[in-house]
Subunit: 331 residues, 6 copies
């Protein structure tokens, strides 16, 4: 069934169009209203289509900023093809600055393929998978660690058994040139509710970019986003110019053991720094019992050696919360 | 009137005592209960008294950790005098990991002199001002920027016209040896509801230490806390040993113009790094309008030159939120 | 699967029966309880069945009152046939005086065909579609603008390509004789989750009546409801007597352009009155920026000419909220 | 003690100044922030001072709009004196569109004389009473019935035993020329927590204007506000021009019996129209029991004859809610 | 200052009057409303005054029921004197079935002497202390353990150094004849915010009766309430007839050690029954760690011997919650 | 599709393994976390499998305690076979001490067969039905009346037309030897969303045990749980020893008339005791109108004779809440 989301953007028209996806939503204070999800289409002539998504999670900000800049600033005369920009994809979550939508507690990145009659988050997923992905060639989905995690800027591609697709993804990783690049593990390939899974279903080459996190923005992470997006645009032939970048560090994420999870409730004290090379069995940090501070803290250990690219960015933790993860040299 | 908060700690007894301040609190689920605020008294013989406070704000963690360590690890045989440790002062806020108490929305550091019959936050303030400060010589109140701000580790003392007190505070600042030290401005002296105002009323030398922030802990900020507390203990004669430290940078905080506040609602992109030297009129960052991303962002400017020691650590901002503040060379 | 909702009403029995639909619902405070949705069956001999629904949205009150009166006051000796009365259809929403159910945030009028195992709102929709509509001939679904909108009393029928059904609906509109009558557009025919869509699926002639709104009741709107229901009863042969009424104004609702939506967040000042004839391009009102009152307000314009039958009834608006809609002369 | 609220407006300077009252407020998401309450000072030469207050209650909108217009549009060359404009006095309530502040549930109009250390609502009251009223001659406090009531536009003055003040107030009522004018009863004089009580304490002539209500705006009520404010400006000598107006109906409000309160919980159906002349013992409306609709509704009666100037504007009522009030001919 | 609470009850008039205390309270949904606290005055001729209070805590039900019965059923011809009945004293809490008021989180029994301008709970306390206690001779304040505790029915009187008052209270205890009677300890005499402290300030003889608890009603506890109230009425000369009762067990409550508090968070398993005679050091129960069920539970011990008259009635406990208390033989 | 819930328990390995079901759950404070549901596998050699479930509802505590004890204390040397223990099945509900999960308002016992992609409660149901039931022979699902009801300890089996299964269930009932045993009615057989329905789908013999209730634990109810579980273990051949027990009273639950539901909102006063033998038409209790206490209460009647094994354990009731139920002699 066709999405109930409407827009007055004509994706087949040249020019810089900015408007909204109008998602019908009835509430106690608005019987006939719609949720206004900003969207832009920048097109000049024929050429490939790049879909840029920010705000997949509402508390991840670099993509929201970098994509908005591009909407405002890109000189259309330099463009050959089309850019569809969705800088605040889960709009209610974006306005709240939260990972999940405050309307339906929905995690957009676990909502694909969505539902035409579902809650707003699921309706957005359905629109992306049925209306936007089918007309895209490449998707860059700009994430960060959000409020709970902080990343060393890292680009990730999803494992595929399709050699051609794998080559395309690896090329994209090298072009984007984040400080670290990672191919997701076969295990992760099982998750079919993400935007990257949707992209694969639609034959769209997709990178997920983890830029920074901690619920704020750093100039450094934002610079990685700007440069990488532009480099992919050049790679696709959309523009002629882009900045040089140092080569990325190609890594793997092959095992659940790369992740460390809290074994208790408490206050987390990390004792390694983001970006460090760590050994299996080394301590990532300690969990303190602030309600009974004379009790010894619990030390939490890495289960695998590698480079620490993601670290918990909130002091209070619950058992089961991720404390960080490493990536490993590519085999 | 005497506080209704009870404890079985005997502050006049030698030894390592750990227990709770029992704050009576009746709720729908506990008619006769009390809130258990952890407290410790470490005493060996006669000598001065150091009062250590953490968790004045519940989302500021370095003090909670460093004071708990000291409770557990200090060798009493090396101690000459008394340490009273209150690592989770606004306990309901600490357990929630929030600045304010979830019970009464109380900001402990704006609640002094408190109220014997007031809400829990005010009752805690009353207890500290009437029971703990009168038996203390020095207070270290360990803060950070909490969930909303992040600091370069900075120690602060409150302006006083009393030359002897000023000398004592300046000595403490140099001993604590945070990377940056600041004397508060005469303007700030007007605020009489803080723990530092209460300390001055009680004749207790007090430093407020801003360690890190962003709702998490860094090894570096924690190291400053540990070292500084120990150095103050040696300075007071409580212990004989402490680590050396580089000299602190003595700065001033003389003007409201040192602070930058958001002039709009939006998503904050900082464009300088914490610790930078900045000029008046220079941009601290931009506020983005993510709901209408094709609108130009608003650039926010520093009003005074100085060193940026505090920066907003959350992307979403409301008009009136602090974006950062500088400190200035001491005149 | 058969609905889990039970009732002790026997719809095949003569007399005035009043009781509840018992919707099983387990909560923290009631393990084995049910939600008591009032229902009545008034029957005397054989004859057609009129289903009266109020409280489809909980903040729409005329139907709740008019149907309850009829339950209490109708002289069964004058009745030939059956009236099934559901004056508080989404009962949790009705008790809360809200559009949506406070239990599941469900909008009953977007929940058809419902779900036998779904949340309460969906279970109610399922019961109506599977148990009540199959035994009804005509449905009057009494709405108003609710808390967010206010209507000039207007009866609406849904477009159909079935000429016989269209004739039946047009007759009903003329009989009900609201001040304004409207046939919905082909576009609207796509919405299949409403009670009117369910009625069409079940072959039941259905009018939706928009009476007043603004979260309260006016004597004038209520009088339209009372008179119209009685006139439809006479039209169906259920009773012999009903009051005369002036002819209704037959209008169309052919285009999305009949609706005006807020293009910004702000405080809405309407500058036309409900019921006015307006031109395309004319202003409906202004959106004020009360947080920065020295900024100029935004003027919002009608996109189509017609009669303004629905106007926003709350000052604060979000972008995307409906500000009003016109109806147009029937082509 | 002096208010902690600061502003960069210089009330002694000529010109059109627009800025904010900066009310310090610390929250979990903003440690050092302030609440930005818009304020303007329009001054040209010497002359009297008119203080205009809107948003005393956040869900009362005509004053917010009319005062903002005046800030934007008044030609300062035509002004002789000073206007201090506070269009959104309880700013957190205004932004929420609620009567009470969402921060502290404060009703500004029951918070005077306020508290320098109190919650935001009380701090605002303190600022108005200690900083603004002392420099004002006349105060117009623009209200409406808010979300719960709707008024026929009515101006009210508070009873005083001071004959000169009474004469000044009566003159103001006639100048403002609302359709109805009322002097409050001696009984009401007991309430000392309102802005009008504060005005009397400060020797400021004050009218409270009840414009419309129901949580929205009507062109008619707004026109009364605009015209009346301008007429008072002319009366004070601030401007030379203003529109004519029909004479107001001078009425009294002498007895608690003028008010009708709900004796039960239920759904309110009014059966008289706003503005009607009613008799004691006449019914104002009925309370319906929608959960048991076959029960007879409760009829509620007027206790005094008079003109109905205020009527409940929400269907759901609790026992004790006001259903309306009359005013009586002046004895 | 005189209370703002009004009532149309004339306490000096004979007869059975039932009405409301009208507590002015403005909310977002009711600008001019009042909270309707039920009250009754039963009077026949001259004689003493008994004040009956139920619903001091909203989740304590026996008093609410027993006092309502007496309002309905007492034969005034048999009465010599006056009964003032306040069966739902903290009315918002009573309607919510919660200990504390949902409006202001107020615990009425820690709110005396109240505040004429305070929140509803404090305004009620002020009314009782300034309007009702001054005209009463005896007060029976009917409590239970509420949602969190369950009692063996026990009557309590507050320690006094006034021998005449002590004799009056002891006589009342023997007359009420609860299964257990207790004189409060000198320590408890310090609490001055309770209704019993207010009673003593006003020279009113007062018993607090703890009937059952656990958030429900038992026939047995209710029977104790009915019989005891009637026996006190006979004792005061208000009525001639009352039922016999077995002698009460006179006990003491001399020490904080009579109370057992949870030393951890967890799930409480009591291992003694209410009413048991227990020894110091005996276990009252265990606290289970359900999130890590393979950890050993914590056993909690009685600190004093005595009879267990109060036991925790909720499984989940927080550190500091009361698990039960004993009473001890009277010395 | 295979459950996304993982565990490191190897159900095919001998020994006492304790760990967690790791249910992936992303929240605003934990992007990559999982919910840690405790689970244990106790196995020694070959033999049958007993699945023990507690915390199906979070406010039912005996099972949580009894199963945890067994995990800790069972001597594996005495075991022949396997016990899979899930003492806190709906873990979020268990931690909150609520019937329903605070995350999704899910009632686990109405969530089968669950949904691999559903909310946490539905994902748990899916795991139990697809991973645990297929490897079990017998299931004991330990319930109580929770916060809203209190039971005389009663074991229940679900009606089946399969004579062999019926015999197996009846034997289990006699072995468990609760004071009362009940076979569910044919009517109840229609409910297919319970754990017992899932058990039947999987061919697992299942008893549901209702132990006590009222949101707390009694020693007596816990003793029934311990003894019954052990006796079933002996019956299955898992252990050789168990305690004797008096014969259970075998009863039926044949009719909806066994249940009494509140016909009004109010305060419930039961007038019979749990365990009583009652007659049809006898009163179970009264509903009091505490807001208008001079109104007569409503008496509620039993509709069927039998033994009262379940009684409402909260004073405040809504219309439709269950007040209690009887069981009847087996026909």
């Amino acid at each position: 069934m066709r999405s109930r989301i409407a827009t007055d953007i004509d994706f087949e028209r040249d020019g810089r169009q900015t408007s909204f996806l109008r998602l019908p939503h009835s509430s106690d204070t608005s019987g006939y209203g719609w949720i206004p999800i900003p969207v832009a289409c920048l097109r000049n002539g024929t050429g490939p289509t790049l879909l840029l998504v920010g705000g997949n999670h509402g508390d991840e900000y670099e993509g929201q900023i970098a994509i908005a800049e591009l909407i405002r600033d890109l000189d259309l005369a330099t463009l050959s093809g089309r850019i569809i920009a969705l800088p605040a994809a889960n709009f209610p979550a974006v306005m709240a600055g939260r990972r999940l939508s405050p309307i339906d507690a929905g995690n957009l990145n676990r909502s694909f393929p969505g539902d035409v009659n579902g809650t707003p988050t699921r309706a957005i997923a359905h629109f992306i998978e049925t209306e936007l992905l089918p007309i895209a060639d490449v998707l860059l989905d700009l994430h960060s660690g959000g409020a709970s995690m902080i990343y060393l800027p890292t680009a990730l591609a999803r494992h595929t058994n399709d050699a051609k697709r794998a080559a395309g993804l690896e090329a994209l990783l090298r072009v984007f040139a984040a400080p670290v690049s990672v191919f997701g593990s076969p295990a992760g390939a099982r998750e079919d509710r993400t935007l990257e899974a949707a992209s694969e279903r639609c034959g769209v080459l997709n990178l997920g970019i983890e830029l920074g996190g901690g619920a704020w923005v750093t100039p450094a992470a934002l610079a990685v986003a700007r440069r990488g997006v532009r480099r992919v645009m050049r790679h696709m032939g959309l523009v002629a110019q882009a900045d040089d970048a140092p080569a990325t560090q190609m890594m793997a994420l092959d095992s659940d053991d790369c992740f460390v999870f809290a074994s208790e409730w408490g206050l987390f004290e990390p004792i390694v720094d983001l970006g460090a090379e760590v050994a299996a069995g080394q301590a990532i940090g300690r969990l303190h019992c602030v309600e009974t501070p004379w009790r010894a803290p619990k030390t939490e250990l890495f289960r695998a050696a590698g480079r620490l690219v993601c670290l918990r960015a909130r002091g209070r933790v619950d058992r089961g919360d991720c404390l960080g993860h490493v990536v490993t040299p590519r085999g």
